[in-house]
């Protein structure tokens, strides 16, 4: 199956084209519309191809598990030659399986979720296109193809956030996402330029070195490239300071939030850092920056999530926080754990988003937790599934979060990186706090909504059950210890984690981590239990200081609004005045001068014969004079 891995990219692409060109004629009504089934079938087929490639990869000895499949030549210009190569190695196939596996489930779910939409074929055309680009991104064997996928997923993200383009907030959120991530993309592009100047190639083997050999590059250049790549990753993965687009991106349909803004696209940044870890390692500085970006994102996202009443926004900040953990792991050099968390997070965060999608579906798009409550009574399935996702995320053993997120803290402590351990534990406390809060507020207590919330149909529950199973148990299966199955599988690409022996023993750390998680849940219960309902349901009227700060996510958006909207606007107005007076003045002045000068010419051509005669005479005389003088 490795030889035909290009099918994994091609199938969603073809299905996307079919849906966008002819989806309207596929027929069927509501959930029976065939466009959704075509899209899901393509994703499932793509998943099967990736699975086949995985099995074939597993049958090979560990050192031969990096296969490059040349599909076609892409660019040939002078000394530059870029071919359309797909790389099948443990890392890329893991990512491809996440994209296609979680992607298939979300597509299946979306068939039910989008049943009332007028144009489902457009939706599925975009999501399939997204998956094709995402697979190109993760399967690419050179940075240029990776960049193609990178920009492609950005485009699809824009199209899907703004899918309900008749809603102004969706349209502006789409623009915000596109422009904010573009800032990071420019950094990435510059990074690629520097890379090409130095290596003369975009290929992974040339740039990143192969078979354990580090790339031959000066530390300074490596730092420059790494930091520019990190700039791209920060934009795509919504880390500080380019995170502002992610919460607004929730204006898109919920399956999009689950697929693009939780499970796959936003993890592209983590993938990029992990993939180019060799460059980051040459430059120690860049790796430290990655860790700092990660831990600040983890804390910031977690704290901001506590203040959100919109369930999807809270989950968006939670995604940011979890991505922060992944960056922290990558920055500390624990690449396999970063990927393990990425995989587990893809499961449980998609699950959480889709569960909140069920709430929206059943309650006419109500998503504000102040007007929810008691949902477990009407939607027991959804409540149970959300609880499963919350348990996985919060990090209670034996669920995924514990084996992935807390593994980062454990290894950090063993390596003696105390600051990462302490701040990470704080972020873990906040994580348990915010996710438990959401559950208590939305699903516990009494109903605070009008009417009856209907439970989601089976079509929208089955994918969630699979995701829940993945979310709960992916950790124990894949990463029982930091050197678990996934880490062993990834070893040919990512190397071995050398775990130190500093700090307290593993057992103590586990006890601390469980205590921290329980403390988070306890705080949430104390603050948000149904008995305290009155304290937070009436916040719009009397929002206390700290909650306002958290709810506005530390006023970063307001700060950007001030910088761009006020200072930027003033500067723009000043420049515009300069343009109107000085630049336009010069241009128009030249125009006026020409008009005036051309007004002088007719004076010469007076139509009076005698003046012409005089001109003749003067000209003849001048000619004679000239000849005389010359001789």
């Amino acid at each position: 199956m490795i030889d035909v891995i290009w099918l994994a990219v091609a199938l969603p692409l073809v299905a996307s084209g079919a849906n966008m060109l002819a989806g309207k004629r596929f027929g069927g009504r509501g959930a029976g519309h065939r466009s959704g089934w075509v899209a899901t079938a393509a994703m499932t087929a793509s998943f099967v191809v990736a699975l086949g490639a995985l099995l074939q990869l597993l049958s090979l000895p560990a050192e031969e598990r990096t296969q490059v499949v040349t599909v076609a030549e892409w660019i040939r210009a002078g000394a530059v030659s870029v071919s359309f190569d797909l790389r099948v190695d443990p890392l890329s196939i893991t990512m491809a399986l996440v994209v296609t596996g979680v992607g298939s489930l979300i597509h299946l779910y979306a068939i039910g979720y989008m049943e009332h939409d007028a144009r489902p074929w457009r939706f599925f055309g975009y999501t399939n296109l997204f998956c094709a680009f995402m697979l190109a991104l993760v399967l690419a064997d050179d940075f240029l193809l990776l960049y193609l996928g990178w920009e492609g997923v950005g485009l699809c993200s824009y199209l899907l956030i703004g899918f309900w383009s008749d809603r102004p907030e969706a349209a502006s959120a789409a623009k915000k996402a596109f422009i904010t991530t573009r800032i990071g993309d420019v950094a990435l592009m510059l990074g690629l330029f520097v890379m090409f100047m130095h290596f003369g190639s975009f290929e992974f083997d040339t740039v990143l070195g192969h078979e354990g050999a580090l790339p031959e590059i000066a530390t300074g250049t490596a730092t420059a490239i790494s930091l520019l790549l990190l700039g791209g990753a920060v934009g795509k993965s919504a880390q500080l300071p380019l995170h502002v687009w992610l919460p607004d991106a929730m204006a898109g349909p919920t399956p999009v939030s689950a697929l693009i803004h939780a499970a796959t696209m936003v993890t592209a940044g983590v993938y990029l850092v992990v993939r180019s870890h060799a460059l980051f390692e040459v430059s120690e500085v860049a790796l430290t920056v990655v860790a700092i970006v990660g831990i600040s994102g983890a804390l910031y996202g977690g704290l901001a999530s506590i203040g959100q009443y919109d369930m999807k926004r809270a989950l968006a900040y939670s995604t940011m926080s979890q991505l922060g953990f992944m960056f922290l792991a990558a920055g500390l050099g624990f690449y396999p754990i970063a990927i393990a968390l990425l995989v587990a997070h893809a499961f449980y965060k998609a699950l959480l988003f889709l569960a909140s999608g069920n709430v929206m579906h059943g309650l006419d798009d109500e998503i504000d937790v102040r007007r929810l409550g008691g949902l477990r009574l009407d939607m027991p399935w959804t409540a149970a599934l959300f609880a499963a996702g919350a348990l996985s995320l919060s990090g209670l053993p034996p669920f995924s979060g514990f084996f992935t997120k807390d593994a980062i803290l454990e290894v950090a402590s063993h390596d003696g990186v105390v600051w990462a351990y302490v701040l990470g534990s704080l972020a873990a406390l906040v994580s348990a706090w915010y996710i438990a809060r959401l559950f208590f507020q939305a699903f516990m207590g009494e109903r605070r909504y009008q009417g009856h919330a209907h439970e989601a149909p089976a079509l929208m529950r089955i994918p969630l059950v699979v995701l829940a199973a993945g979310g709960l148990f992916a950790g124990i299966v894949l990463a029982f210890t930091p050197e678990g199955r996934l880490a062993t599988f990834l070893e040919p690409t990512l190397g071995h984690i050398e775990e130190g022996h500093a700090g307290p023993s593993t057992a103590t750390l586990i006890a601390i981590s469980v205590a921290v998680t329980l403390a988070g849940i306890g705080i949430a219960w104390r603050l948000y239990r149904p008995a305290n309902e009155a304290r937070w349901t009436s916040f719009p009227e009397r929002e206390p200081g700290m909650s306002a700060v958290l709810g506005r996510a530390f006023y970063v958006d307001a700060l950007y609004g001030f910088v761009v909207g006020t200072i930027g606007l003033r500067a723009g107005e000043a420049l515009s005045r300069f343009d109107r007076t000085v630049v336009d003045g010069a241009v128009n002045g030249i125009g006026r001068l020409t008009t005036w000068a051309s007004g002088l010419a007719p004076v010469w051509q007076s139509g009076r014969a005698r003046r012409y005669a005089l001109s003749f005479l003067a000209g003849g005389a001048a000619l004679l004079l000239f000849m005389v003088v010359r001789i």
Binding site: A601, P602, W604, Q605, S606, G607, R608, A609, R610, A613, L614, L617
Partner: protein, 101 residues
């Protein structure tokens, strides 16, 4: 004793100057015409004078050509003047200035 060439040239220059002044200062088309004829003949005189000085016939032949062309020019010029006169009832060349830019 031959008449020195300078005499001819001075006379020719005087004639040419008179003709030029007539062309430039007189508004009447016919007088302008006469001025032009005077200029042409001044040039013819120069040609003939040089021809005599060099003892060659080229200059005299050219003078004949010049006279023939001048005669043809008079025919065309008078026809134009008549046409203008019929239209505007004047021979004042300054009035015929519709071709100004």
């Amino acid at each position: 004793m031959r008449t020195p060439i300078a005499y001819f040239l001075v006379l020719s220059a005087i004639l040419f100057a008179i003709g030029s002044v007539a062309v430039l200062v007189r508004p009447n088309a016919l007088r302008i015409f006469m001025g032009v004829e005077l200029q042409l003949n001044a040039v013819n005189l120069t040609l003939v004078a040089f021809s005599r000085m060099h003892l060659e016939l080229d200059g005299q032949i050219l003078a004949f050509f010049s006279m023939v062309v001048a005669a043809a020019e008079v025919v065309v010029g008078l026809a134009i003047i008549v046409a203008v006169f019929r239209r505007t009832a004047t021979t004042d060349v300054d009035r015929a200035s519709v071709l100004r830019g």
